[in-house]
């Protein structure tokens, strides 16, 4: 899988896709959606779709794309290659969401939580397939959050398609399992070949699976936390695991709109009773508006 676009800039998001098989523009197609890397505290989260004509579902099943969770990494890579070979009837597309995008969405002033990000990414990929001219008639999605609400939302967005949202959809529908394989192959490769934009020395890439309870991952996080900059951008700063380490190991930072402001505001009331010098006139608004005051000491 060619992730060179991601390697160029791994702080945003990038879309990869296979060519659209001609048959998928003619015949009614089934499309599966799944993601990989939802839980880990580091590395990208990858959303993938995989689609093929209704009539070729048995061929897809013959590829043994059984429940991707039971497959090893090598088996997944091998299966992905086989799907690539069968590109005359199987198409795929994926969205790689970088850890930085995930963190900044979740920590932004206007919160954009992981579920919304996931739902929007999945809808975006289905729309992408339609825009590419794939004749999608059925969609199967592995659920994120409440299956009913998610299904309702997708059905509303795509009224001409039969949408099925189910938990463990990758074990039920081969086209979802195939999507899951694409997502996992992409994520494994992205994590393995991660280009650190931080020129971090003595960087060992031995961060384990990336799951918060993986001792290797926890050790790696503790080893690479930097008191002022936190972590390399491989890490999802919005993850509790990461925040817990930052709270312990990193310096505090205050922002203009940080909570501390309110607390400071309350102190201001008391300061009314401390006279600020008999006739100390405040500086003219020209200076106040620009945060300028006289220097009484260097």
């Amino acid at each position: 899988m060619d992730l060179s676009e991601l390697e160029k800039d791994n702080t945003g998001r990038c879309r990869l896709s296979s060519p659209v098989p001609a048959v998928c523009r003619e015949e009614p197609c089934v499309l599966g959606v799944d993601e990989a890397g939802r839980g880990p505290v580091l590395g990208p989260m990858v959303y993938a779709i995989c689609y093929c004509p209704q009539s070729r579902l048995t061929d897809l099943e013959a590829l043994k794309v059984a429940d991707s969770k039971t497959l090893s990494e090598n088996e997944r890579d091998r299966l992905f290659l086989k799907m690539e070979e069968d590109r005359d009837f199987v198409g795929w597309a994926l969205d790689v969401l970088s850890p930085n995008l995930i963190s900044t969405s979740m920590l932004g002033r206007v919160k954009y939580n992981l579920n919304s990000l996931s739902h929007d990414t999945a809808s975006g990929l289905i729309q992408y397939a339609l825009d590419q001219g794939v004749n999608v008639t059925q969609v199967f999605v592995d659920t994120v959050g409440l299956a009913e609400t998610y299904q309702e939302r997708l059905q509303k967005r795509f009224p001409d398609i039969t949408v099925t949202v189910k938990a463990k959809a990758d074990a039920l529908y081969p086209v979802v399992s195939a999507a899951s394989i694409c997502a996992k192959v992409a994520r494994d490769q992205a994590v393995k070949s991660w280009q650190f934009v931080e020129k971090v020395q003595d960087l060992d890439a031995d961060y384990g699976s990336g799951y918060p309870n993986d001792p290797k991952t926890k050790a790696w996080l503790r080893k690479h936390v930097e008191p002022v900059f936190g972590f390399p951008q491989l890490v999802r700063f919005s993850w509790r695991t990461a925040q817990a380490i930052l709270e312990k190991e990193a310096e505090g930072v205050t922002w203009e709109d940080s909570a501390a402001e309110e607390q400071e505001g309350s102190r201001k009331i008391t300061s009314y009773f401390q006279s600020e010098g008999p006739q100390a006139r405040p500086p003219h608004r020209y200076f106040q508006e620009r945060g300028l005051e006289s220097a009484t000491a260097l």
């Binding site: 205050t254 006139r281 945060g291 220097a295 260097l298």
Partner: protein
């Protein structure tokens, strides 16, 4: 370990002496309290030091982080504002006096540097009456002349406020969030009031009130 970034000519002691740059403490002409100024011996010029001090800032200085994020500005300043402080005080004695007996201050002894500013005599014409006896000049503070001089300052400031599109109208929460078009709706009187207020940061309260009437 507090770190600072400063110009070479300030950092290196020898260069500093050569450039004749000295940080001095003088009486702030409005409050009378001590404030920091920069004096350049070779330019014979006085600079006011203002600090940009806003919450929630810090510096990256090379390979270090520095909390506070202060920024010091040196701005050329008309030394008459500081000399006025002494001339007004001496003026109360209602007699002509030599300058070196007027500009004296045991709290801020560096005030004598003000006597070295460029074209001092020309400056004094704006705010004093003078007499010459045996080639020695004697000065007495003139309120009329000073108000006239300050009137000119207000006009110059009004012109500068317009040229720099400074918003003088209804108070905005910060000049940074200002769209230029509203400036045009500001009235002349707003400019004069704003300019008077700005200059009043550099003169004693009583003179500010007289200037307001003037």
């Amino acid at each position: 370990l507090r770190r600072k970034v400063e110009a070479e000519c300030l950092k290196d002691a020898s260069k500093k002496m050569k450039g004749g740059l000295m940080f001095i403490k003088l009486a702030n002409p409005c409050s009378g309290e001590g404030a920091i100024y920069l004096f350049s011996m070779c330019l014979k010029q006085l600079f006011e030091i203002k600090i940009f001090k806003e919450k929630h800032h810090s510096w990256f200085i090379n390979e270090s982080v520095q909390s506070g994020g202060l920024l010091h500005f040196a701005t050329p300043m008309d030394p008459l504002f500081l000399l006025l402080h002494y001339l007004i005080k001496a003026g109360k004695e209602e007699k002509f006096q030599p300058l070196d007996q007027v500009v004296m201050d045991d709290i801020f002894p560096d005030c004598i540097l003000l006597l070295k500013v460029l074209e001092l005599e020309k400056l004094l014409h704006h705010v004093t009456d003078e007499k010459e006896i045996d080639n020695k000049k004697y000065y007495k503070y003139s309120k009329e002349k000073t108000l006239k001089w300050l009137g000119k300052k207000v006009n110059q400031t009004v012109a500068a406020l317009k040229a720099n599109h400074v918003s003088v109208g209804a108070r905005v929460q910060s000049a940074a969030f200002f769209s230029g078009d509203q400036v045009s709706s500001d009235k002349e009187e707003d400019y004069i009031r704003y300019a008077h207020g700005l200059i009043s940061d550099y003169i004693p309260k009583e003179l500010s009130d007289n200037l307001s009437k003037y």
